[in-house]
């Protein structure tokens, strides 16, 4: 059975149909890229999967169990974590406190949570900044924090929303390697990305959205050559 | 059955006055995104202004209104410069508590200057009642209504057709974009605040002949105004106008039906009910109550 199953998801906002009849399956251990021009409904899809929006039609299932209609915190506790495109650190808290909030969803023991938080900060390379206030971090560091925080909730599937967006070129390889490592360690990932180099390098499968509809679903090779994807988004066939 | 024309007339008169208070409040929120907890105190100060000039100078409130308008406007501008401008970019909470502080200070000022006793502005005509078509209306109320309508209409016209009005509406929609377009948002805010205060101060001057004047009179009116503002949708001036009539209708009919003692409870419960069921108001967008937009 698929880990995550998205079936017929449709969402309208007033006159705009942000998602129209979107369906795809995610198997355990897969890393799937979600691509498409701005306004194609990628973030809306994430909002629906993570429980912040309820779809007008269709459903999302995790391991067969229904996710649609549940509150976002319930969805997280069931094993779906996410990062936000517009970063949302808890600015007034320290870096380690930030991650602890995530860890405390899985453990009730504060000391245990702190230890776990420190481990994760080590993993993403933010150990030095543990006691700093989150608002003092640079964009690249905030991305790592957001990642560590989400990981602290011990998710079965992680939704990453444009993890390389707004980050300078030098930091990207580090972030990409981090994502690769997480995947290699068994985490299932859904990744929204605009950077084609990044996504074709890490994704096993790509789902392309355009104007709220799924227009392609396949391996990077296939999708980047797909006529509709090229017309709608790439502009020309993408080659390495 | 013949109570209906009377109720209707009373509703319109009262609604007109509430509209003047509510419109200023919603303007300030619409452009500046500030919920002004001190709005009632400016009403109160307007009432005391009328009282002072009546007892000390023998001036009729309507004369005071004309002569005092620049004073009220100036007071509004000054309160913006001194109190609000430093926190205009701060968080909502900081702004809220700043206006709360202003409210406390102004009420206390009134207490010190005039004591807690109720004061009355007994003009020569305050008891005159006009009768027609089976309806009896207080002359002072009619006059207040007429002035309120004039003010509100002018404000609408100003916002709709003048350049400055357009600038204010632009700032209301997106202050950052407005600033990028070269609009001096600081001035817009100062003007908006001053205009809002002027409306409510003027309303105060005109209410002086009708209601007793005491330092905390502002609270009662501002709660009503807030019911109207929320019902009409925060920031929506036309909505505030219509909602004022609705609120006045509720007040007038419940006064008639269940007596004055409990009518306040009724519209406070109405307020809480609106906030619970449809906080965006009758005309607002759902979700608009989550401020930040």
């Amino acid at each position: 059975m698929s880990l995550l199953s998205v079936a017929g998801v449709t969402k309208r906002f007033g006159g705009v149909t942000a998602n129209r009849d979107i369906s795809f399956e995610v198997q355990p251990g897969e890393l799937i890229g979600i691509i498409g021009p701005n306004g194609s409904g990628k973030s809306t899809l994430f909002e629906i999967i993570s429980g912040f929006y309820h779809p007008d039609a269709g459903e999302v299932r995790l391991d067969g169990g229904r996710l649609t209609g549940l509150s976002p915190d319930r969805v997280c506790r069931l094993g779906v974590a996410r990062t936000f495109q517009k970063l949302r650190p808890f600015a007034g808290l320290t870096v380690v406190d930030n991650v602890m909030v995530g860890a405390l969803t899985r453990t009730h023991d504060v000391r245990h949570a702190r230890a776990r938080a420190r481990e994760l900060l080590e993993r993403v390379g933010l150990s030095e900044k543990a006691e700093a206030h989150a608002r003092t971090l640079s964009t690249g560091q905030r991305k790592r924090l957001e990642l560590a925080r989400a990981l602290a909730t011990e998710p079965r599937i992680l939704l990453l929303d444009e993890v390389t967006g707004g980050v300078d070129q030098r930091t990207i390889p580090g972030l990409v390697q981090l994502v690769r490592d997480l995947h290699r360690d068994g985490l299932t990932l859904l990744v929204i990305e605009h950077n084609m180099r990044v996504i074709t390098a890490v994704a096993q499968r790509i789902v392309a959205l355009y104007l709220g509809e799924k227009i392609a679903d396949g391996t990077p090779d296939v999708v980047t050559r797909d006529r509709r994807v090229v017309d709608a988004y790439l502009g020309q066939v993408y080659t390495q | 059955m013949h109570a209906i024309p009377q109720l209707l007339a009373s509703t319109i008169l009262l609604g007109g006055i509430y509209a003047l208070i509510a419109v200023g409040l919603t303007l300030i929120f619409g452009v500046m995104r500030i919920v002004n907890f001190a709005h009632g105190e400016f009403l109160m100060l307007g009432m005391y202004l009328a009282f002072w000039s009546f007892t000390l100078l023998g001036l009729d409130p309507y004369v005071t209104l004309v002569l005092g308008l620049p004073l009220i406007f100036g007071g509004g501008w000054l309160s913006y410069r001194l109190v609000m401008r430093p926190v205009i970019h701060a968080s909502h909470n900081v702004q809220v508590f700043t206006t709360v502080g202003l409210s406390i200070a102004l009420q206390a000022l009134a207490l010190v200057l005039w004591s807690a006793d109720s004061q009355f502005v007994r003009t020569s005509y305050y008891a005159v009642v006009v009768r027609f078509a089976g309806i009896a209306l207080n002359l002072a109320q009619i006059a207040a209504f007429v002035v309120a309508v004039l003010f509100t209409a002018s404000l609408f016209a100003f916002m709709r057709w003048s350049y400055t009005g357009k600038v204010m509406r632009a700032t209301a929609q997106d202050r950052h974009a407005a600033a990028l377009m070269g609009i001096d948002t600081g001035r817009v805010f100062a003007l908006t605040w001053a205009v809002g205060i002027t409306c409510v101060g003027a309303a105060g001057v005109m209410l002086a002949p009708i209601y007793p004047v005491y330092p905390s009179v502002g609270l009662q009116f501002v709660l009503i105004a807030y019911v109207a503002v929320v019902l009409g949708g925060l920031g929506d001036m036309a909505g505030a106008l219509i909602a004022s009539l609705v609120v006045a209708a509720v007040e007038v009919t419940s006064s008639y039906a269940i007596g004055t003692a409990w009518k306040e409870v009724l519209y406070l419960l109405l307020f809480i009910a609106i906030l619970t069921i449809r906080p965006a108001g009758l005309f607002g967008q759902r979700g608009a109550e989550v401020i930040g937009t």
């Binding site: - | 202003l102 009420q107 207490l111 807030y226 406070l268």
Partner: protein, 324 residues
């Protein structure tokens, strides 16, 4: 971590004072400081720690005061029972307010809380049959611990001290515990907290309900101490603002802040009263003007409160995290 020494010093001074001080006036001041401090700390549970800035907490205070007073005058029931009844009632109303807090953000919530407290004021002041209407209720003084009829101010100091310390500990718990971290996350960014599995809505409601119950307890004790319940005071917006003012001045979101803020306010009030004694309304006006101005200035220059401001000057970290 945080430094408990200032709190220890504060409570130690309070505990030792009755042994040294005989002056009833000074003891009265101390009792009021502890009482207002406790009330402000109770407010802080909802306002500082859960980020729900209520301007209507006098509703709960009044419920506590009235419960004890009514049960005592009408049926001769002990104020301790009255305290529990008041707390239970306040909790119920707290759940309502909590529900509202999930529907409304920021200033809208503040408005609703004001409306709430005013409804209770109107009901209490108009319901002559039950609450003696606008005249208020004199609280009967029946000597004895069970009836909270205590004449010795020194005993009152210890009684209120227990309440104050209890509230302080509740706040400290909110800082160090799992719930505390989650609440901090909720007040920083509710959606982000939700995405991490924090049951934000339930937490807020719980915080407000707890805050309500504790505020009611303060109201009960206050009514017994002062001996009279006046609806226009006990449900007033002024009183609600007093709770927030104390917490904000002293440092919103810090455990000792509300007590320090209450100390400043109470000392100011009592010294002005002593200085100008008997000039009535004019006097009330003056210290209220000062409150208003102090609030405005604090919001301008030290929005996290005076205590954190001082702490920053001395290079201390007084709290888990500011709320502004």
């Amino acid at each position: 971590m945080r430094d408990p020494r200032p709190a220890l010093a504060f409570f130690a001074v309070a505990a030792l004072a009755p042994l040294v001080v005989r002056d009833a006036f000074l003891l009265d001041g101390l009792i009021l400081i502890l009482m207002w401090g406790a009330s402000a700390a109770a407010w802080n549970v909802a306002g500082g720690y859960a980020g729900q800035l209520s301007l209507g907490h006098s509703a709960f205070f009044g419920l506590g005061a009235y419960s004890a007073a009514l049960l005592g005058t009408r049926w001769g029931i002990s104020p301790w029972i009255g305290l529990i009844v008041g707390a239970v009632l306040a909790t119920a109303f707290g759940f309502i307010l909590g529900f509202l807090s999930n529907r409304l953000r920021g200033p809208y919530f503040g408005l609703a809380t004001i409306a709430f407290s005013q409804v209770l004021l109107l009901v209490a002041s108009r319901w002559r049959g039950f609450t003696s209407g606008s005249e208020g209720i004199p609280v009967p003084f029946r000597p004895g611990f069970w009836t909270l009829g205590i004449a010795d101010k020194r005993v009152w100091v210890y009684l209120v001290l227990v309440l104050a310390v209890l509230l302080y500990l509740v706040e400290v718990y909110l800082e160090r515990s799992r719930r505390g971290y989650q609440l901090a996350a909720v007040r920083e960014d509710e959606d982000a907290a939700l995405s991490l599995g924090v049951a934000a809505r339930r937490l807020k409601v719980a915080a407000i309900a707890v805050s309500a119950a504790l505020t009611a307890a303060c109201g009960t004790l206050w009514a017994q101490y002062v001996g009279f319940v006046d609806p226009y005071y006990v449900f007033s917006v002024d009183l609600s603002v007093r709770f927030c003012l104390a917490a904000i001045l002293g440092g919103i979101g810090t455990p000792l802040g509300p007590f320090l803020g209450a100390a400043v306010i109470t000392m100011l009030e009592t010294s002005l009263r002593a200085r100008f004694g008997g000039i009535g309304a004019g006097l009330i006006g003056i210290y209220l003007i000062i409150y208003g101005v102090v609030l405005i200035l604090t919001m301008r220059f030290a929005p996290q409160g005076l205590l954190p401001w001082v702490g920053q000057r001395l290079r201390w970290r007084p709290g888990l995290g500011p709320t502004s």
